[in-house]
């Protein structure tokens, strides 16, 4: 643990630095591959939608020793239309999912199952979803998603800068795509709980991005006044400085989610808890990845296009080719050359203006 903390100090001063922004093409390529894979999985396999979306009836029987074969014969005896999926959950639960049924038909199935397993009809947990209901739920979920993206973009544009909002939202869309891709690829059930978990994660992924961007903004506030580092370099420093924080916040967020997943999948077998936490788990992982590897590089790229930033990077590159001796002397500590920043001091101490302003 303390070793990690020590790394935090080195990252903060810029002694140790990972080049996230300079190697952005690598991360873009990596994400590109993931997105193509997601698109393929989505178009070939599609999402495995739960009955809430496509309509249908679900019956869960809790009975020790209940077998899938018994359930199948009970359902078959009612001659209900459509495919029936029968699964065993945990040790003593059987779940039967049918196509959309009328109330009379689902009562029939429920009675048949109750008779077969010798339990009362009321003790069978049922969920009946009308066929039109799924459309309603889907519509709402999509409204929620787009409403969320728009509101958050506006908010971030106001709280930070418009370009940060764009970069953050691109990263969020990236997360959406990859998470959906994973669901299509693995064939996890998509239920309303999944969608909710998912929308929550969007908020969370932004939380992470916000933390990084806040630092970026701080590091770059007075950057154009000097000629010490380019926007990209300052942004990269910010990512490194917040790396320990990102790691900690993500891990801390993941711990409760993991415990819900563990309990939900282990003790209950299926249902709200499992669906919700699985989506959160996958989303958190991609969200952390994207705020470091996607959001910040995109932001840097967007800002570097500005004339002021281009002028800045020209100044910086002149300094780099003809090192300014005064700067090295003034900084006082030994320089650790890295691939990006050949000789510059990147620590906040080397940004005297900023320090004065803050105090």
């Amino acid at each position: 643990m303390s070793k990690l903390a020590g790394i935090g100090g080195r990252l903060y001063r810029g002694d140790t630095s990972f080049d996230f922004i300079g190697k952005r093409r690598r991360w873009y390529a990596f994400s590109g591959v993931l997105i193509i894979a997601s698109a393929l999985a989505l178009s070939i396999q599609g999402l495995h939608l739960g009955i809430e979306f496509k309509g249908g009836s679900e019956f869960t029987i809790s009975k020790t020793g209940a077998s899938i074969a018994d359930a199948r014969s009970a359902v078959a005896s009612t001659h209900v239309p459509g495919d029936t999926i029968i699964q065993k959950l945990g040790t003593n639960k059987i779940r039967v999912q049918t196509a959309p049924l009328s109330t009379a038909q689902s009562n029939q199935v429920q009675d048949a199952l109750a008779a077969k397993f010798g339990v009362s009809a009321d003790s069978i947990d049922t969920q009946i979803v009308g066929p039109s209901w799924g459309k309603e739920i889907t519509r709402k979920a999509l409204y929620g998603l787009f409403g969320f993206l728009i509101v958050v973009m506006l908010y971030l544009a106001m709280a930070f800068e418009p370009k940060m909002a764009i970069a953050a939202v691109i990263a969020v869309i990236h997360d959406v795509f990859i998470t959906v891709g994973i669901y299509a690829l693995v064939g996890f059930d998509v239920t309303p709980a999944t969608v909710i978990g998912f929308l929550t994660v969007l908020g969370y992924s932004l939380y992470d991005t916000v933390v990084v961007f806040d630092k970026v903004r701080e590091n770059t506030r007075t950057i154009t006044a000097g000629s010490r580092m380019t926007y990209s370099q300052a942004a990269n420093l910010a990512v490194n400085q917040t790396l320990v924080r990102s790691f900690n916040t993500s891990l801390i967020a993941l711990l409760p989610v993991a415990s819900i997943l563990f309990v939900g999948a282990g003790l209950l077998g299926a249902g709200t808890l499992k669906d919700l936490s699985l989506a959160l788990f996958i989303g958190l992982a991609t969200g952390t990845y994207s705020s470091i590897f996607i959001a910040t590089p995109i932001l840097a790229r967007l800002r570097e296009r500005e004339p002021a930033m281009q002028a800045l990077s020209k100044r910086v590159s002149i300094r780099t080719t003809a090192p300014a001796e005064t700067a090295v002397k003034a900084s006082g500590t030994q320089a650790r050359p890295t691939t990006v920043l050949t000789e510059e001091k990147r620590g906040p101490r080397n940004q005297p203006k900023k320090k004065k302003r803050r105090r």
Binding site: M1, S2, L4, A5, G6, I7, G8, Y12, E52, S62, T103, Q105, N107, S123, I124, D125, Q127, I128, G130, I137, K140, A141, G144, V152, Y155, L156, P192, A193, I196, L199, T200, G203, L206, Y207, V210, V211, D214, Q241, T242, R245, T249, I252, A253, L255, P256, V257, A258, S259, I260, F262, L267, G271, T272, L273, L276, L280, K355, R357, R358, R359
Partner: protein
């Protein structure tokens, strides 16, 4: 910002005691409110204690104005509420969720009433009295020309529809409640024993003043529903029965049609002018009582699709509650463990903050249960657990800021203040994103999922509150304690921990 920060910093630094006092006042106030209100138990949702929930989606009924209006939904809610209350199950709830005309009606009834609830609330209960024009065997008949001339008022189209109808199929015997009272209709007997062409309705459900379940005194078995008409109903029913007695069978029958299905079609032997009618048909006592109640409270002004029906047995409810609690304690335990391992002394602050946030959340759950009818669902528990992470994240943002400031060479005391000013903004922006997310989730979601959004939003607000009135002031206080300010190895602020050169930290601390 820099100037305002300058003037504010010493203030907050100087008065951690006052802020902490505010916190204790708030806590005591909440606690006493809980006692005064007698809210000692969190209301659990149906998925945690078992019960039936039905979500109804309003739909335009045939023959009505063709618009789902907000007033109609309100009216439907109150009618359904009366029907559900007639079950006599405590803590049943009928609410409309969503906004305006785009609302769903959610009915939740605890316990194992299951199907009875479903039948009771889904019924439109549009009652009509129609004269029988044609009655026949339930099966479909070949449509080879019109053998007999259709009786007066029956078009060829209706006749063809009648021929096609197969009442032996259960699918054709779903009450829909979509018959237009001004048109003749083709329909089935409820039990599928015959099919009918019926004349336009002459007496409607709204002409009924009273309905009750009665037992046939002579046979001692066989429940039926006794209807009493109001003045205009009595007149209309009298006229109808007077007219048909003179006709030949089957046109001397009056069909009692409920939601588009014929309940019974008795032959009228003499004019009924007393203002009473009976609905018979193999009812059990429960059936008859429920039907009488449904009729008494009137028909729903809208037709509804059963969007979702969920029936959870008390066993599963208990299982889910247990699982939710285990997950909660496990998650909390892991977060506490990690905080202590990583932040050591500062970890104590985060544990304290989590506990404070936890108790405020608990107290508010109690109060909201009392005031707003807030019920804790499984999704709500999940929201609260996820919030543990979000809450802890604010502390991390702050702690890491403090450590950054110390790394920059500040003394702990000043790092606590400057770090706070910077962390505060990050925390507010990030929490606000979370709050936007939960608000939107709450607006766009229905059912249990709203519980998730609600708890998530609530706990995020609580997090903001706790960070401001507890975490920050307590850190200010602790910064004066030697254990922390001297950078003790266990304080989480030791030079080694921060990875700064020992000399700097000691010099400035």
């Amino acid at each position: 910002m820099s100037t305002s920060a300058q003037s504010r910093t010493p203030k907050t630094a100087a008065r951690p005691g006052r802020t902490l006092a505010i916190l204790s006042v708030v806590l005591i106030a909440l606690l006493s409110l809980v006692f005064i209100q007698g809210a000692t138990k969190i209301k659990l949702g149906l998925d945690l204690r078992g019960g039936t929930s039905v979500t109804l989606q309003p739909r335009i009924a045939v023959g009505s104005a063709g618009k789902v209006t907000s007033a109609a939904i309100d009216q439907a809610v109150s009618i359904i509420r009366q029907r559900v209350n007639s079950l006599g199950v405590a803590e049943s709830e009928v609410t409309a969720q969503g906004s305006g005309v785009n609302r769903q009606i959610v009915i939740s009834v605890p316990g194992d009433t299951g199907r009875r609830v479903v039948d009771l609330v889904g019924q439109t209960a549009e009652l009509r009295f129609r004269q029988v024009l044609v009655e026949g065997a339930p099966g479909a008949t070949a449509v080879t020309g019109t053998a007999a001339t259709p009786p007066a008022g029956v078009s060829a189209a209706i006749n063809a529809e009648y021929a096609k109808l197969d009442c032996t199929k259960a699918a054709n015997r779903q009450g829909t409640g979509t018959d237009n009272p001004n048109d003749p209709i083709v329909t089935c007997q409820k039990d599928g024993t015959s099919k009918f062409i019926l004349a336009p309705a002459e007496v409607l459900g709204q002409d009924i003043s009273k309905a009750s379940a009665s037992l046939n005194q002579t046979t001692g078995s066989g429940w039926y529903v006794l209807l009493t008409f109001n003045d205009s109903g009595t007149k209309k029913f009298g006229a109808l029965t007077t007219r048909v007695t003179k006709l030949a069978a089957p046109q001397n029958e009056v069909a009692i049609v409920l939601d588009g299905l014929v309940q019974s079609a008795p032959r009228i032997n003499e004019a009924i002018t007393a203002g009473n009618a009976e609905i018979t048909g193999n009812f059990t006592q429960t059936d008859a009582t429920d039907l009488a109640n449904v009729l008494k409270y009137g028909a729903l002004p809208l037709a509804f699709d059963r969007g979702e029906v969920q029936q959870i047995s008390p066993t599963l409810g208990a299982d889910q509650l247990r699982a939710g609690l285990i997950a909660g304690f496990l998650g909390l335990g892991l977060v506490i463990l990690y905080s202590l391992l990583y932040y050591r002394g500062l970890g104590v602050v985060s544990v304290g903050s989590l506990l404070i946030a936890g108790s405020i959340t608990y107290l508010l759950f109690l109060l909201f249960g009392k005031w707003l009818g807030f019920t804790l669902t499984l999704a709500g528990i999940a929201g609260a657990i996820v919030a543990i992470g979000i809450t802890a994240d604010s502390f991390i943002v702050y702690f890491e800021r403090i450590r950054d400031e110390v790394r920059e060479g500040r003394s702990l005391r000043s790092a606590v203040e400057t770090g706070w000013i910077r962390a505060r903004r990050t925390i507010i922006v990030a929490d606000f994103v979370s709050i936007i997310a939960s608000a939107l989730l709450y607006i766009f979601a229905v059912g249990g999922v709203r519980g998730f959004a609600f708890t998530l939003g609530l706990t995020t607000l609580i997090d903001l509150f706790v960070v401001f009135v507890f975490t920050k002031p307590i850190v200010t206080v602790l910064a004066k304690v030697k254990f922390y300010s001297s950078g003790h190895p266990l304080s989480g602020l030791s030079p080694k921990n921060l990875g700064v050169a020992t000399s700097t930290a000691v010099k400035e601390a």
